[in-house]
């Protein structure tokens, strides 16, 4: 319990003309040292907002309830003064778009030195040494120090972003689509780096819509749909015996390595707008197994095994999943 990120019953909602709309609903999630947890979902499912909530960076008009703890410190409702020393030091984040997430008016070196010196009272040389170390770890040389963001390529920027995130050796690292904009070889190297960091003790929350990425590096997976965690379990469990119809649909619609040539499936329909969320199960309109009860009652998470939980009235029987995959 000491290290790690523990999210309990986290709900995030926005006021709009018709009342309060939940973008994230009673989310439970934990990331422990040494592990990579994949948070998977389509865009609009609330995964990036969950990540921002972990840093206490939700937009000002967002209402928040529940609890997020980092190494035992509560984030929800904490003051800026409490949060500032935690951010970047205990928990850091790799942002989706490195092109806009780095300040165009300062060099990479200036920005990284700023992060180090904010959290450690060290002299310039020590700080510079840790900056160089972080850059080297993410595969950049000291040449990057003197460069402005516009002078670097997308891949280099993503590495710089990672270097900045790991410069203070945080306990928890959130990586929001860290490899989406990159080409495949760079992507593989960045995933390797994340694996290395986890092996050295960091806990990593990897946010992605790409199950292939999750299959490569994650230890555990949480699948998010329309603001709710619908299934969570060890990576092997999820890939071999998905129990939620949505997870199954995702698996069938993505080319998984070793899956061979098979017809790719698309889940019909789109994620419902969170402002007009339906009663009962949010996935029911797109679900092939829908029954009357799905429209009226929201189920709680059911445990299939101690590590594998699903949020569905009619989880798919293990045998049938196995047969399909």
């Amino acid at each position: 319990m000491s290290g790690g990120l523990v999210i309990k019953q986290l709900s995030l909602s926005f006021a709009h003309a018709g009342g309060l709309a939940a973008a994230v609903n009673a989310c439970d999630l934990a990331v422990m040292p040494n592990e990579i947890v994949g948070l998977v979902g389509e865009s609009g499912s609330g995964k990036s907002l969950t990540a921002l909530a972990c840093l206490g960076l939700t937009p000002p008009n967002c209402r928040i309830s529940g609890s997020v703890q980092i190494a035992g410190t509560e984030i929800v409702g904490a003051s800026e003064a409490t949060l500032a020393p935690i951010r970047g030091r205990k928990i850091a984040m790799i942002f989706q778009n490195p092109m806009t997430a780095l300040n165009p008016f300062f060099t990479i070196g200036e920005q990284m030195m700023g992060v180090i010196r904010r959290h450690f009272s060290v002299d310039i040389n020590t700080a510079r040494a840790s900056v160089s170390g972080a850059l080297a770890q993410s595969g950049l040389t000291d040449i990057a120090l003197k460069k402005y963001p516009h002078q670097m390529s997308g891949g280099q920027l993503q590495r710089a972003m990672i270097a900045m995130a790991i410069a203070c050796k945080p306990d928890i690292l959130i990586a929001d689509e860290p490899s989406t904009a990159l080409d495949v070889t760079v992507q593989a190297r960045i995933l390797n780096l994340l694996r290395q960091l986890a092996d050295q003790g960091m806990g990593i929350l990897l946010i992605t819509h790409d199950l292939g990425v999750v299959a490569q590096v994650a230890d555990r997976v949480a699948v998010m749909y329309s603001g709710r965690i619908v299934e969570t379990g060890d990576t092997d469990d999820i890939f071999s015996s998905a129990a939620h119809p949505y997870t199954l649909g995702l698996l069938q619609s993505s080319p998984v390595m070793g899956g061979g040539r098979r017809k790719m499936h698309a889940i019909s329909g789109v994620v419902p707008d969170f402002r007009y969320r339906l009663s009962g199960c949010a996935f029911r309109d797109r679900c092939t197994h829908m029954q009357t009860i799905c429209a009226t009652e929201q189920v709680a998470l059911k445990s299939l095994t101690p590590a594998h939980q699903v949020n569905c009235h009619f989880p798919i029987a293990q045998s049938s999943t196995a047969a399909k995959s």
Binding site: R87, G114, R118
Partner: protein, 337 residues
């Protein structure tokens, strides 16, 4: 960058020539002849012919224009018809008074406008933000001359704290003349250690400076606020917060630089507004600068003076904008080559 600078400089020279041609053409069209102005009401025919020859008015217009441009290029604007002194000399003499007024007003507008803009952005939607918005909207809606009059009513007429007009107490300057080093009375009297002159110069500066400053303050304040809010909403600021940046370092470093660099353009524009506003302010406060000089020259059809001072002000304005653009070059890393 040097190449760009020289290209801009060449461009500027061309525009100045254009302005010279334009003002020359305008001056030829001024309603009354400068001859009458020089010779009084009933000149003889010979006197007129002599004067025309002296001024070169008997030559073809193109030749006159050519000669004029060559003269201007040498810094020679002819002599004022009103005072008989070289225009250049008069302009330079009066330029310092305007420079003192305008630079103080600009300095103050930036020094007040930028922090207030930051405060307003930080307190967005709160009462202080509403207050600065009112100030900003009112500041650009008050006519300069009316603002000056209201200030005169309050601080001279009612409270009696400050002088009505002028640049310094004239008795004082007769008794203890201040040697001119910079032309800026505030600095000169300080250099001379003349405390009473310094006090007098300062108290004479307060009202015209405030009058000239308000509209620029309003513009700079609002621009700072809006740009700061835009920058604060950008991804890199959220990222900086995610890495633990404090509010102070956001407002005074990480978001400030991206705000200030585009603000330079606004400050350059403001300078132009101030040069225009200084005409009204100087007339109202009887301030012996080039703004009042233009009006005096226009009213008396003193065309060499009008031309000279127009050229000088436009060139200054262009130069300031060039400097602003070059600063942009130095400060914005994205346009480094």
């Amino acid at each position: 960058m040097l190449g760009y600078f020289f290209r801009r400089l060449a461009m500027l020279a061309l525009i100045v020539v254009g302005v010279a041609i334009f003002t020359f053409v305008l001056s030829r069209a001024l309603p009354s002849s400068p001859i009458e102005m020089m010779l009084g009401s009933k000149p003889t025919a010979e006197q007129i012919a002599q004067a025309r020859a002296d001024l070169g008015l008997d030559r073809p217009v193109v030749i006159q224009l050519g000669r004029y441009i060559v003269q201007v290029a040498q810094g020679e604007f002819g002599t004022s018809l009103r005072t008989g002194r070289p225009v250049m000399e008069e302009v330079i003499q009066r330029l310092s008074a305007t420079a003192e007024l305008v630079s103080l007003a600009l300095l103050l507008a930036v020094a007040l406008g930028v922090p207030l803009g930051i405060l307003s952005a930080a307190q967005r939607g709160r009462w202080i933000d509403g207050l600065t918005r009112m100030l900003a909207v009112s500041g650009v809606a008050v006519p300069v001359f009316f603002l000056g009059i209201v200030l005169q009513m309050i601080f001279y007429g009612w409270l009696g704290w400050l002088p009505l007009q002028g640049r310094i107490d004239t008795n004082l300057i007769v008794d203890f003349p201040v040697p001119a080093h910079t032309g800026l009375l505030l600095i000169d009297s300080a250099l001379a250690g003349n405390t009473s002159a310094l006090k007098s110069a300062f108290s004479h500066l307060v009202l015209p400076t405030l009058t000239l400053m308000l509209a620029s303050l309003a513009t700079i304040l609002r621009a700072t606020r809006n740009m700061m809010i835009e920058v604060l909403g950008s991804d890199h600021i959220r990222a900086a917060r995610a890495y633990g940046a404090s509010r102070r370092s956001l407002y005074f470093k990480l978001a400030l630089k991206p705000t200030l660099v585009p603000l330079l353009t606004i400050i350059g524009l403001t300078y132009g507004f101030m040069l225009g506003g200084s005409v009204i302010t100087e007339v109202l406060f009887d301030w012996p600068g080039i703004g009042a000089y233009i009006v005096e020259s226009v009213v008396t059809n003193d065309y060499p003076a009008v031309l000279g001072v127009t050229l000088v002000i436009s060139t200054l304005y262009l130069l300031i904008n060039l400097v602003v653009d070059m600063l942009y070059f130095v400060l914005d890393p994205r346009i480094h080559v």
